[in-house]
Symmetry: C2
Subunit: 514 residues, 2 copies
């Protein structure tokens, strides 16, 4: 058995089931090992950003890591933007990055580069493998590092000779660290705050947005009258009928500050302390207005679900009936397509148990509120702001959940970044419906430029924010990659197209002309 096979056998033993791959020459022994060993599905992405974004989406839904298989520094580099999003999502991802043979490193061959320096900004754990015999145990540690609660990115750099040289066999799995325990003081302090009766919000984030945690939060709200907020860009939140309704913290800092200013105190439950997405000349970094008392019930790395359950007990709320959303989907809209009608159309037609990956940017804003009483579904957001995450992340979510319909609710500018993901959806026959918002612009930048004081942009600024001239024919792009596609010019057409798309099998694509 060579090093490569010892690695793949180690991964199978650790429960890894999927490898999102775009290999090259330095990864050939690992490719051969994928064939030699049963138990890992190999999924080809035609660009590495597809692989890493898919690994993020997979981890969000499967709660365990997939492998990525990447070709030296440039292959890793192509995947970094979506690894950045995965890091911010606290998703578990194990990158396998091939490298030149150890003895070839000093030749400084054309593809050589400093892979560690590239990996560091996105990886909580990095190791450069030294020899084939340690590769299996290195892999076991990489997997355990990725699984550390709630999830992290680990990167294993594997010279090709460490793949092809002889090894002894797979390594035993290494136990992963679970969530950090929540101190009794954190629960007591929060309970005291909530008993005081002042207007309080619980800002839920991370694993605090899963079903058991949300139901505990709902019981606490029922007992104390506190408000439930959702962090602006959640990794994964359970939504719709039967789930407590959440107010989402707004994106723009002025609105977020206004939202939080209503409260006397703020409890953080799995969410980081909120900060502005960008710095602007006259707004602060922190979104928590001065004078608001902040209590940390649970950090994102702590057992937030357990903390909410303990808090509910402490408040004698464990038997309370949480206020949950009824099943009362939005009515089907009519008329022109815009953010409101698109959001309503999706909220109205969303099938039971769907997964919505929202990278719809400006067109997406109304959907979250409109879908509060839709069918029960899971909502995933762009966590790190690196656009091009939606189509890959939806692809990975569909691999994790083959029985659920995945909706990629997708801005056009962002879709273009990793459009190659459509091909993987077609090859794998994934149940992904892409809802493409064709507004022929980086609309958010038009808003941001106006915010910066430029209300009448010049010729060059306009051209840098426009996707028109030429207009992109998204139906042609989707069909060119093997995905059935149609175009909707009105809300009525959109509702009809959504109903058709959700009852079909495999991937499909709706271009919405906004």
């Amino acid at each position: 058995m060579n090093g490569a096979e010892s690695l793949i056998r180690t991964a199978v033993a650790a429960g890894v089931e999927v490898c999102f791959a775009n290999p090259g020459t330095t990864e050939m022994p690992l490719v051969a090992a994928l064939d030699a060993v049963e138990g890992i599905r190999a999924v080809l992405g035609l660009f590495e950003g597809v692989c890493t974004g898919a690994a993020d989406g997979y981890a969000r839904m499967a709660d365990k890591p997939a492998l990525t298989l990447l070709h030296l520094g440039p292959g890793l580099a192509n995947g970094i933007a979506n690894l950045h999003n995965a890091r911010r999502a606290r998703s578990a991802v194990v990158n396998l990055v091939g490298d030149h043979a150890t003895w070839h490193a000093e030749a400084d061959a054309p593809l050589a580069s400093d892979i560690v320096s590239l990996a560091r900004p996105v990886s909580a754990w990095i190791r450069s493998v030294r020899n084939a015999r340690s590769l299996a145990s290195d892999a076991a540690e990489a997997i355990a590092a990725a699984k550390k609660f709630p999830g992290r990115v680990s990167t294993l750099i594997i010279p090709s000779d460490c793949q092809w040289n002889p090894a002894e066999g797979p390594a035993q799995s290494v136990p992963a660290e679970g969530p950090g325990p929540v101190e009794a003081l954190q629960i007591e302090r929060t309970a005291t705050l909530l008993r005081a009766g002042e207007k309080t919000a619980i800002l839920l984030g991370g694993r605090g947005l899963r079903e058991p945690a949300l139901l505990s939060a709902g019981r606490i709200a029922a007992a104390t009258g506190c408000h439930l907020l959702c962090e602006t860009f959640p990794t994964r939140v359970e939504r719709g009928a039967g789930m407590p309704s959440l107010e989402r913290l707004p994106y723009f800092p002025e609105q977020a500050l206004e939202t939080l200013a209503q409260f006397h105190s703020l409890v953080l439950a799995g969410a980081a302390r909120p900060v502005a997405f960008f710095g602007y000349p006259n707004t602060p970094s922190s979104l928590v207005p001065e004078g608001i008392e902040v209590a940390v019930l649970a950090e994102p790395e702590q057992d937030v679900a357990g903390a909410l359950e303990a808090l509910a007990r402490d408040l004698k709320a464990e038997k309370k009936e949480p206020a949950v959303a009824p099943f009362a989907p939005a009515s089907s809209p009519s008329g022109a397509l815009n953010a409101a009608t698109v959001g309503a159309a999706l909220a109205a037609t969303l099938p039971e148990n769907a997964i919505v990956m929202d990278e719809a940017a400006t067109t997406g804003f109304p959907f979250f509120t409109l879908s509060a009483s839709s069918s029960r579904h899971t909502y995933l957001a762009l966590t790190g702001g690196a656009i091009g995450q939606g189509l890959p992340c939806a692809t990975g979510a569909a691999i994790a959940c083959p029985d659920r319909r995945v909706v990629a609710f997708q801005a056009d500018g962002s879709a273009m970044y990793t459009v190659q993901a459509l091909w993987t959806q077609a090859r794998e026959g994934l149940n992904v419906t892409t809802l493409l918002c064709n507004n022929r612009s980086y609309r958010i930048l038009q808003v941001e430029l106006a915010r910066s004081g430029v209300t009448e942009p010049g010729r060059k600024a306009k051209s840098l924010m426009s996707l028109a001239a030429p207009n992109i024919d998204w139906v042609a792009l989707a069909r060119g990659m093997g995905v059935a596609a149609t175009r909707a010019e009105s809300a009525d057409e959109l509702v009809a197209a959504l109903n058709r798309a959700f009852s079909a099998r495999g991937p499909n694509f709706i271009e919405m002309m906004l």
Copy 2:
């Protein structure tokens, strides 16, 4: 004047004319400054790899840097693969990377990351700007750093407050370092070697492949009988009728070793000492067989053209007539499309003064030899092995040379990486003809896997090297991005399509069914 405007005015004063941009919120003051100042053309790429690859192609043809404008760490990361190629090409590129306002850095907002760590592997020069008043002089130094002969990548990281805060005005240009002088000893030693009369090859690389250097090399060959070799992946080489014919050093190490084993001595003229592209179990890193005497006439950073001219004088060859290729293009081929007929069709039809960007991988191999007597043209190669360079690099070359026809001779797997470049070609109306080699596979990997001993790949290995299932409809993709496209199923159809494409204006696209 704010910092952003002082930067753009500094760049204009330093002779910079183009900015390949995909900006975001943190770059809005720079976008506004592009409008406020005349003299810099703003070209939008719908993915940052398009911008950086275009800057590489532009630099190769214009011999000066363009700016790129990139959005924080993830925006830079998306451009790294093509910056890696630019670094290996020794192309001059100035990256402007926006960042969070200095006072917002500690908030660790979602888009924050370690930009310096990402930039280091591809940048010879990096600076994080500290305040608006130093931004102009920082930019002047960044531009000079990029222009250091023959060219380098420099990266300037610019917090948004340093863009919007007041500045004093543009900075004076900083003189760039020219080529390092060649020592008399280098020329003498080479002359002695050549006079000895043993079988000698001059391996030309870098600036040694431009017209004056090539003609000097041709005179030296005429006087001494030495052979002229071209490095395997040249940044830019002048080719065709009127230029000395060069033998290209083969890609696979066994063949390269065999080529060099014929010689008693090897002279390096602007080329690095040749090494294997990848390490294989039974081949050495160095491609220079033991016992061969190696003389360095000029390092890539030295004045190789001057060294070849001085060497010609030293050898009394300066009046010799160099053997140059006649104008005798290949005959138009017939029959099925394969690497040989595709290469012949392109060699037969290539218009005078064309620029060929070759990222055709396995399909491209025969073209270099077949085009030796084509019309005079410029040939650009994939220098760093990071695929996805061809379409962007062709785009940048066309911006630098609006009067020349650019041919993107392009493998399908590589094209998919940065396919968004087609849209930029359409928007800018560039005279680029893409010749897409549709063999529905990563063919080079099939070869490499066989080399590694796996002659009968299993199901997963096959699937990871195949672009079939579904087949990509490249005509649909090109048209979807506004580029006129056609399909060729035979060599006859290809020749006709090429003749039509080369006489049309603006971009066009030919999908070749191999």
